[in-house]
Amino acid sequence: MKHLPKIIFLLAALSLLGMFIAPIWRISLLAPQYPQQLTMYIWINQITGDEAGTLQNINILNHYVGMKEINPDSIPELVYFPKIILGMAALGLVFALINNKKFWIAWVVILSILGILGIYDFYLWLYDYGHNLSPEAAIKVPGMAYQPPLIGTKMLLNFKASSWPHWGSAFIVTAMLGAAYAVYLKGKLKKQV
């Protein structure tokens, strides 16, 4: 019983590693010519599609309106986000051993700030892709931007774009809630003692 908060905190920290086994976000494009949708998955460390050619197919469509090519190699976040997540998991491991409630609170706060920053960063990318259009684009629709929604569904010309968190996000939420619960439990146990 005494070790329960520590174990929960440890598991919460480790659950961050789950972000490597599933995409954290999913953006799909639906149009009459694409009845099966074009679906793109954003992972902590990569961008994939539901087929090998999906990214190429999305880029082909995007280039007509002057959007930049989505090239995973040119997105630095895909390199340093994984490091941050691994760092937070390691830090969580150390804090679990230290077994100090204040450290734990700090961990939850840092993780939450990182999470919010991550979503904001994602939003900035979406904004940039959607607004930073080549002046030489073949198709120019006055006043039109192609930023997909952060969460939800929006019509972008002929495409219905849908953007939703995917399973990978559940792990960071689990980490935050789990760690917060460990903090709460630790406080409760202390009072009982």
Binding site: E51, A52, G53, Q56, N57, I60, Y64, A138, I139
Partner: protein, 661 residues
Amino acid sequence: MRSTTAIFSTLLIASLFVYSGCGNGGNGSGAIGTSSAAEKVYVAPGEYDSYYEFFSGGFSGQVTVHGLPSGRLLKIIPVFSVDAETGYGFNEETKPMLMTTYGFIPWDDAHHPKLSQTNGVHDGKFLFINGNNTPRIARIDLRYFETTEIIQIPNSGGCHASPYPTQNTEYLVAATRFSVPTPQEDVPLDQESYKKNFKGTFTFITGGEEPGNMDIAFQILVPGYDYDKTHSGKGVSHGWSFFTSYNVEQANTLKEKNASQYDKDYIAAVNWKKAEEYIKQGKFHEWPSEYYHNYYDEKTQTATATKKKGVKVLIPSECPGIVYYLPTPKSPHGVDVDPTGKFIVGSGKLSADLTVHSFEKMLAAIEAENFDEVIDGIPVLNFDAIHAGTVSSGGLGPLHTEFDGRGHGYTSFFISSEVVKWSLDNFEVVDRIPAYYSIGHLSIPGGGSMKPWENGKYLIAMNKITKDRYLPTGPELAHSAQLYDISGDKMELLLDFPTMGEPHYAQGILASVIKDSQVKFYKLEENEHPHKALNENETRIERNGNEVHIYMTMIRSHFAPDNIEGIKVGDKVYFHVTNLEQDWDVPHGLAVMGARTSEILVMPGQTETLVWEPQAEGVYPFYCTDFCSALHQEMQGYVRVSPKNSNVKIKWSLDDEVHEL
């Protein structure tokens, strides 16, 4: 006397059918209960048909694929004829497919599409079809719906009785339609010479089960008759193949009269397992016959034509027990084997009746040596000893029979223009229905195999005469086909639809057997074409004397490169074009002004080659022929052609990327 009257009146009725069109053409009549028939063939927008039906194009040389029950045209597959639409036979990759010992032949007469079988059931892997004129058999790979292999058959004058695979596609078969001097030689054309010099062959081809290795296993030299149709045995008769013959009279002229004199011709029964034993024992003659084997490799996306030499020939008089003749009345056309393999049905095309032989009785007659005579080492079995029964049809001119797997045969009658349904139990006629007009083959999906699909739900009639069935279109009309519902006691006409060329024969397969194995596009990383360019950085131009190789790519909506200079009059220019798309249904095409060839139509991930020999200096546009995208019209480029001895350098560019040799 009574039967003569019956035949005479049927003839009269038949001629009324043909010449008056029964007075109902153009009104959509013929179908019973039009609204319920409409419901049965209606496939709602976006819904799929439940069958693929593969029609031969006959003299179009192609195969057409229709959906059933709607009759909608799904695809035309070029096989023996060049096809400017797809570039088949025009581009460098597929030209070798049409090579023969006579050289490149742009056409043939495609007759019998036959699906590959495993345990006597259509397995949906391949479709085979024979070329009637210059004897050949082709394979269509049903993952790609493309012709991938063609083998030429030597020592044959016309290939009609073909390809009719054995139960596990161990062999594809072929027989000589028009007997010829075999091996060929210069002989006079008179009856004495015909009888002395002309021969037929039965050919057995291995390699049907897997792509790439079709070859002539052996040929059997047989008397010089006309061999007409065939079916391989199944179930109890597995190990045998049957071929009909006519012109046992051995007439060499006015065959319509002179080949129709005898009361009976023969069905040849070939024991190919026995033939295999003789081959093993070395009892064959090695003939130096030449033939081509052409194979399209889906990896290199290129066909190669290979000339082969030498076939093993078996002679029946030296190999007892490989061929027997079953006497069958009145110039039999079709020979069909019921799903159990017990009955061999001969359709005497100049009579009213079908002759059904019993396979069991045939074996017993062979065992008892119940022979009427022996022709060139081939015993003729006693008719009464092998005869199982006769279907007295009341029609005239039976041609082909298929089966529903519920104990019925369905036979097409050309002269009386009808389908007759009869019982395999008592050989009695149980139903009949008109066909419009003069039906040749009929097709029940799976009805020639051991397992008719869905217990024989549909029957398609393929007709030789169209007349007034559709809106008139000048002197030449599309041939007509009809779809019948045969699931009930009475056959019902559901649909009437035009077809391509001569829909000589068709086979159908339940869509679910093949639809999920369809290849949607070629994967770029698996492209092993020797002239591929897998991305725009690999595009380039190479000059080799007067040969210029342009390695080009296409992607929505541009070619790379799209400006080319340094080509000279007298050059032979190869456009090797790779479609970089990796999505379903995004082909791009290429056409060059003045090129004396067809366009090429390149599927995603594929490389194809168009050859152009510019005749005069100037600037030549090229463009994408397949409406690929919103900027399709912009998908174009220019080639500058300079005089023969100019020193303009090879130069290619796309936008501000410029390269020079």
